[in-house]
Amino acid sequence: MSILHTVNKSPFERNALDACLRLASDGAGVLLFEDGVYAALDGTSVAPRVSDALSRLKVYVLGPDLQARGFSAERVIEGISVVDYNGFVDLAAEHDKVQAWL
């Protein structure tokens, strides 16, 4: 079926997110965690690129990493799903494989 892409680097510091969004096939999943969660926040300079990607990718963000950094689900771009660790495991199990954009 499809790939779960994981991004754990800040989109302001590395190009991992951009590479992921450019190369992920339609219908793939993208999970943002650790410093990658900053890409899920609304109102940032990268938010338009992430919003655009939502039309062809399913995007998730890890709640505990958001919370650790001081952001609640209300700050997340509409259309991105907040998941917990169990959700992370489910996503990994549901997809054929995981591609980590380190």
């Binding site: 410093d35 709640g63 505990p64 919370q67 950094r69 001081g70």
Partner: protein, 136 residues
């Protein structure tokens, strides 16, 4: 203490928790505070994320060092700067950041919040004026 007072600038450019830089920088600032130098702490790029309010790390099993920033005033750190452009790029305002109070124990002069949001020109000037820059 040393007679020569130098202007130390601690430059923070990394987000907290994803890497160890933010925590290490804070440790160095606190250690350095014991040496009676002229200390400035600056947050630019992802470093501005170090100061966000409401950090709660119980879900990730790491120490929440965010409350420590609020004690910097007690360590005689009186100058904390945040780059406006970095905040804007991240959709943040000063309201999203913690406040750091400062009090002069001799005169009882009190400043409610020493965190100052500054423009790029001011950031450059502060870098130029400092004797030493510690980068994290």
């Amino acid at each position: 203490m040393s007679e020569v007072v130098k202007k130390f600038l601690y430059l923070n450019r990394k987000a907290p928790y994803g890497t160890i830089y933010a925590w290490e920088a804070l440790e160095v600032v606190l250690i350095g505070a014991a040496f009676d130098q002229d200390v400035s702490v600056m947050f630019i790029d992802d470093g501005v994320y170090q100061l966000t309010k409401g950090q709660d790390t119980k879900g990730i099993g790491m120490k929440n060092f965010s409350p420590t920033y609020r004690t910097l005033g007690d360590y005689e750190v009186k100058k904390i700067y945040v780059d406006q452009a970095s905040l804007e790029a991240r959709g943040l305002t000063q309201d999203d950041l913690v406040e750091v109070a400062w009090e002069d124990f001799e005169t009882e002069e009190e400043i409610e919040n020493i965190v100052e949001v500054i423009d790029s020109a001011r950031v450059s000037a502060l870098m130029d004026e400092s004797d030493v820059i510690f980068s994290f």
